[in-house]
């Protein structure tokens, strides 16, 4: 079963705008990760945030985590057409190498 829910399910923006995607999950976590997927094939790891972290940056990506609300957000600044993809949040348990539990994803379209 899916752990989390991404919101919105689909998002369409103009190139240069910022894109914000949200993720909610149900159980306690150790880490939360965001992945990107093009054309329904392999996933690319974007960023990992630990449960004791509140915010993390990587290039044009900014991730926040609120464990009290069991939610996370992914912000992509200055979006590009190449950012068009599906974005998934994934959570893991509190021991090493546990399987990831994914949400259903947000489909982002960036229009040039």
């Amino acid at each position: 079963s899916q752990q989390g829910e991404e919101d919105p399910q689909a998002l369409s923006i103009q190139e240069g705008e910022n894109a914000t995607m949200n993720c909610s999950y149900k159980t306690s976590i150790n880490n939360l990760q965001w992945y990107r997927q093009n054309s329904g094939r392999g996933l690319v790891h974007l960023i990992l945030i630990r449960s004791n972290e509140r915010e993390k940056h990587s290039g044009r990506l900014r991730v926040t985590l609120d464990t009290s609300k069991k939610s996370s957000s992914l912000l992509i600044t200055a979006s590009r057409a190449a950012d068009t993809a599906s974005y998934f949040c994934a959570t893991d348990g509190d021991s090493g190498n546990t399987p990831l539990v994914f949400g259903k994803g947000t489909r982002l379209s960036v229009i040039a």
Partner: protein, 113 residues
Amino acid sequence: GAGVSQTPSNKVTEKGKYVELRCDPISGHTALYWYRQSLGQGPEFLIYFQGTGAADDSGLPNDRFFAVRPEGSVSTLKIQRTERGDSAVYLCASSQWDGREQFFGPGTRLTVL
């Protein structure tokens, strides 16, 4: 450094047939995972190996599904008596022993006619 590879990239089979899907993890990664992704959904966990043994197979939907990793590297997912509902993209991922980041392969798209 090669990433995770999966073969075949596409597999079309008929209902009732047997299929094998192969995953080559990143060299040195001890953990290997299989996920299944249906259209419009996120990946769902099937089975996880730590070394040669299946550490968690709770995601396998039924006994038609089986996976092996005999030498702790390459893994094969085996599906017997395929059904149309088995059609999906099957994703493999690997990670280091203490790694949190899982590296995914490109997937195998299975179509059961």
